[in-house]
Amino acid sequence: MFRFLFGRLGLLIPTFFGVTLVAFSFIRLLPGDPLDLLAGERGISPERKAQLLAQMGFDKPLWRQYIDYVAGIFQGDLGTSFASKKPVLDEFMTLFPATAELALCAIILAVCLGIPAGIFAAVKRGSIADQAVMGTALIGYSMPIFWWGLLLIILFSGILQWTPVSGRISLLYFFPQPTGFMLIDSLLSGEKGAFLSAVRHLILPSIVLATIPLAVIARQTRSAMLEVLGEDYVRTARAKGLPPSSVIGLHALRNALIPVVTTIGLQVGVLLAGAILTETIFSWPGIGKWLVDSISRRDYFVVQGGLLLIAGIIMLVNLIVDVLYGLINPRIRYN
């Protein structure tokens, strides 16, 4: 087991350095620079620009800059945001809970609806119900979510006025945020209605972000279930006269869930990509929007650090999924 774990970690090291190299070179390839953008029409003298670039360390030879960057990573220093003059890591830490809360709600929604829907469709295979569920799943899977979000806003915020248009909580509430997770903080604050307000703000963004993972999980669960239901041991269990619910629940589901767990893990990347669009539509103060804004502002260190942190999260989650998979399914370890 340890050999397996270390093997996986070993694979991560070159990938990690590759990622740092990619993030490092990207910001140096971006045309334009933050200084020209910040100065705008007012302009900035070449001398002053050179001086400021030197302040940020851009006058050093490239290899030196790269070494400084990697050394900084290991000391938890990802540089300073040019726009806000705050450390990139601090900004990330204040914004990440917003994205994490949204992503977690979305994945919970996707799992809680997707797995039962998939099982249901598999059990009722070929029926109209199966076709309806799978048809819906395929529509969800084909959904341009940025448009889906706009539609939901038109319907629920514009016409019906059930949900707020944007933000994380009503402006009426103002309380400490020790965790950064609005659902938890609103409960801790003890203010009446705060939790409900936070929930209302979360509904639409969560639905939008959950749409594609939900569809994927439902489809994956169905096909995994179908495969397992066709296996010998399930047939045996059935032949033994076990009630269908116990066949599905005990025997089939446990085995069918293995590939589904992997799928859920792989959805993390999808979620983070989706968060970019969802956060833009709902003005959700998370890292997706932060990065998009920083790219257009040419905020070098935010882009460089943000890319690295996001890639780091994805690699970490993939590693965890890999290890879990290895635990559940020992055959994998030796492949």
């Binding site: 045309p31 302009g43 204040t94 400490p176 950064g180 003005s283």
Partner: protein, 534 residues
Amino acid sequence: MNFQKSLKATLLGASLAVIAATGASAKTLVYCSEGSPEGFDTALYTAGTTFDASSKPVYNRLVEFKRGTTEVLPGLAESWEVSEDGLEYTFNLRKGVKFHTTSFFTPTRDFNAEDVVFSFERQLKKDNPWHEYTPGAAWEYFNGMSMPDLIKEIVKVDDYTVKFVLNRPEAPMVANLAMDFASILSAEYADKLAAAGTKEQLNQEPVGTGPFTFVGYQKDAVIRYKAFADYWNGKQPVDDLVFAITPDAAVRLQKLKAGECHVMPYPAPADVADIRDDSDLTMMEQQGLNVGYLAYNTKVAPFDKAEVRKALNHAINKQAILDAVFQGSGQAAKNPIPPTMWSYNDAVEDDDYNPDLAKEMLEAAGVSDLSMKIWAMPVQRPYNPNARRMAEVIQADFAKIGVNVEIVSYEWGEYLSRSKEVDRDGAVLLGWTGDNGDPDNFLAVLLGCDGVGGSNRAQWCDENFEALIQKAKTVTDKAERTKLYEEAQVVFKEQAPWATIAHSVVFMPMSSKVTGYIMDPLGGHWFDGVDIAE
């Protein structure tokens, strides 16, 4: 380590939030702002959004613009004298002005000369301990206004007298001190932070003398202030001020209609008519202090000839541009300064739209088969909501007089720096938004000889024009300056280094309950004096 620090900061913010939340059933004004402030130490930044959230509610300056004008009034300085030679400005400071008391700072003394010296010297002196207190501190506005070259020293004469000594006379100096970068911070607060080793807090938790006390900021979401009870100019009519950060114009309008906020800036042009029809909303409008122009390169043939430039100006259909690009939120421009600015010369006659005349003039100048480039910027600006569409309209207009146009564009930063090149190929669409309401801030910056190869995108250096604006810089008498600038505008129109295109109109929708809001010609958003009717 860093995580702990940010956690600590969150907790700290939390404790002050609790204090703020106890003041129940207060009158709260909510402003749906268009973006997040970059920080709260105004002088570090150049963006209007940051100024709205920092310098305007929290700080004061030695002198202030009279609300709704660019006229300068006493602020933290009660009066000032200028020496004969125009090199020494002596300010007499107001007494008994209090700094904000917050959960993170309790002042022990009133505002005095220390604070003024601190606020400027940190920007001026490289050896000041606050000069680089946060990474990347560049004091961009201070530098952009050439303050380091201009100011020789700042002297504390006594506790309530400060003297600015200049290297050369500069007529707009007092107006410059009303700008956001000249906001006065508390030296005592800075000392306290320095002693605690948390200098960067200066940029995150501001303490000033202004109408509103900073309470807390949740990044990209909400900023909260409360009215400062001991404000030297009287407590504000509202109790709390909230900025709800809402970048999307459609969403801002939705929130305004739903009553979630009282005031919003920058409605989408398409929504303007709709807002006018809404009886629950009022909309204020004002001409922006800006100009959008097409700058020819006067150093490159055939655009070095005034007749050619003039001919092209006659070919541009400004009305079509106003309709297609500004959708009613613009006004045709004839001078390089906006009509709201003093010394605007209304006697100047604009080049009318006349393609036949344009054609004749081109022929008379011996130009035929002209091909040119027009640069269109990739971003939306206050003076030009859609440069590409503007370029397309001009392209069609020029085609009518047989001039072939190719539209080019670059990434915004690159666009700005490339368009400065003296041998640039093509005419550039660009514009300018005023900083301090002084004509010098337009005419000298955009058309002076010093600006060639820089902010003077026409690369235009005209002897007569230059003599006029240089003289106007040194004279302190406003009537005389006005005359000089009016004359300069006549020279400009004759020589036509630009095609002046438009000044934008700025709209400000708000709930009908809001009273006392005054629009700022400089484009800022101020909430002192604003009230909500019950």
